[in-house]
């Protein structure tokens, strides 16, 4: 699994106000989903705060947590 973040990319992951839109690609267990960034890199994301989520949902991820489900355009 490739980390979707970089400390030298668009943003530093330490930034408290950085959020990355990611697509849910698989749900490993309740509250844990694999999500892909725009470049396809996948990471494990906690989804407790936005349950229920489904494969295809677009979520805003910060520091390994989905903070919100972005509206519309869910693709299964």
């Amino acid at each position: 699994m490739t980390a979707a973040y970089s400390c030298h990319g668009d943003h530093c992951i330490t930034c408290s106000d950085e959020g990355l839109p990611m697509r849910v690609v698989a749900i490993d267990e309740p509250g844990l989903a694999r999500c892909a960034a725009g470049d396809g890199a996948e990471t494990l994301v906690m989804t407790d705060l936005v349950e229920p989520v489904a494969v295809g949902d677009l979520v805003l991820v910060h520091a390994g947590v989905a903070l919100t489900v972005l509206p519309g355009e869910a693709v299964a």
Partner: protein
């Protein structure tokens, strides 16, 4: 990608720039503070200031969590990292922040087991893989990041993990804003409010700014068009004599935040009586420590830490930069003794730090303004 590309459209950007030019009163100087480092980064990366009239000035605020960590807390982290049997984990940029006696990266070079992680969950997984070691996570960040730490600790407890600890440096956004507004040397016309912090806390907590201090707030997204629209909304409020909290980032920010996240924060954390901020000093009720229910995971209780307050280097003016009193390039050591490769101050460490953002994307401006 959706939610990215359409917010970088050049034609729409030019239209917003024209609208801003139309609403800005000639002869009046506007100082607007973007609170968070993510905004600072976008502003420099996309040259947003180049699209604004000369009399609309953007001032950088204290919203970079790396930049506000005081040197003494770094020393506390290093002291724990040097303990036998500890794997010390933190976000990448935190490794380069200078404490009173070097950085975590230097401690690693000297033999401490310091590892970069991308999330607290990564640190917890490390603890599960190394049950014979103690894994400590150096937690930083505002209310955006604190839920990640909180959920990870809940998961650690549910999974019965006993070798995972957290050194909490989490902070809250409202107290430093109030401290800034009380600062006598601060002159601002309005605030571009932090977008993703507001995803958790909502826009409502910022209502004290117009109510108590008479300044408008627009909670903003992070793409260039978001920022231009937020500037336009602030100028419209000022032109129309209005003063309120508006939410430009409605596609993401609910006005009342995320109730699940707020519940998790209330369960896992409690407010410290006070917490030290770099450049801003001690601010009451501005820091989060683990609650009594999670004290078994509290690194401050598990390990002896120096807990010593370390004064910033004299040449460093991060405090003035964080308050927006001076521009990064006005600091005496900017770009000379203090660079991203060898930072003296925290603002030069993180790519969200005002100094690093300025150094990386806008250094030319120093020469122009010096002429």
């Amino acid at each position: 990608m959706r939610y990215v590309d359409e917010y970088r459209d050049a034609e729409l950007g030019r239209a917003l720039a024209a609208e801003i030019l139309g609403v800005a009163e000639p002869g009046r100087h506007y100082k607007l503070m973007e609170v968070c480092g993510g905004h600072t980064h976008t502003i420099y990366r996309y040259g947003v200031t180049d699209l604004l009239p000369d009399n609309v000035e953007l001032v950088h605020g204290p919203g970079c969590p790396v930049c506000v960590i005081p040197m003494g807390r770094v020393d506390d982290g290093i002291a724990i990292a040097r303990q036998d049997n500890v794997i010390f984990t933190c976000f990448g940029d935190m490794m380069r922040v200078p404490g009173g006696n070097g950085t975590l990266l230097e401690a690693k070079a000297e033999g401490a087991d310091v590892r970069m992680v991308y999330s607290p969950l990564d640190a917890l997984r490390l603890a599960k893989r190394h049950p014979d070691r103690e894994v400590v996570f150096f937690a930083i960040g505002f209310e955006t990041t604190a839920p990640s730490t909180a959920l990870t600790l809940k998961r650690a407890r549910a999974d019965g993990v006993r070798n995972f600890f957290c050194l909490s440096n989490h902070v809250t956004i409202v107290p430093p804003l109030r401290a800034l507004l009380e600062s006598p040397d601060l002159r601002l016309d309005g605030f571009i409010g932090p977008g993703h912090v507001s995803t958790v806390v909502g826009a409502r907590p910022f209502e004290f700014i117009p109510a108590d201090y008479g300044k408008p707030v627009v909670v903003s997204g992070f793409e260039p068009l978001d920022l231009l629209q937020s500037v336009s909304m602030l100028l419209h409020q000022l032109a129309g004599g209005r003063c309120q909290v508006e939410n430009q980032y409605r596609r993401v920010v609910p006005y009342d935040g995320n109730p699940q996240a707020l519940r998790v924060l209330a369960e896992v954390f409690e407010l410290r009586p006070h917490f030290e901020w770099r450049g801003l000093g001690f601010i009451s009720h501005s820091g989060l420590k683990l609650s009594a229910a999670y004290s078994d995971f509290d690194a401050e209780l598990r390990y002896a830490v120096p807990g010593v307050r370390v004064a910033d280097p004299k040449a460093c003016q991060c405090g003035e930069v964080l308050k927006g009193v001076i521009k990064p390039w006005e600091c005496k050591v900017f770009g000379t003794a203090c660079t991203p490769e060898r930072p003296i101050g925290t603002c030069m460490v993180s790519s969200e730090g005002a100094c690093a953002a300025y150094y990386n994307y806008g250094r030319f401006a120093r020469d122009l303004e010096a002429v």
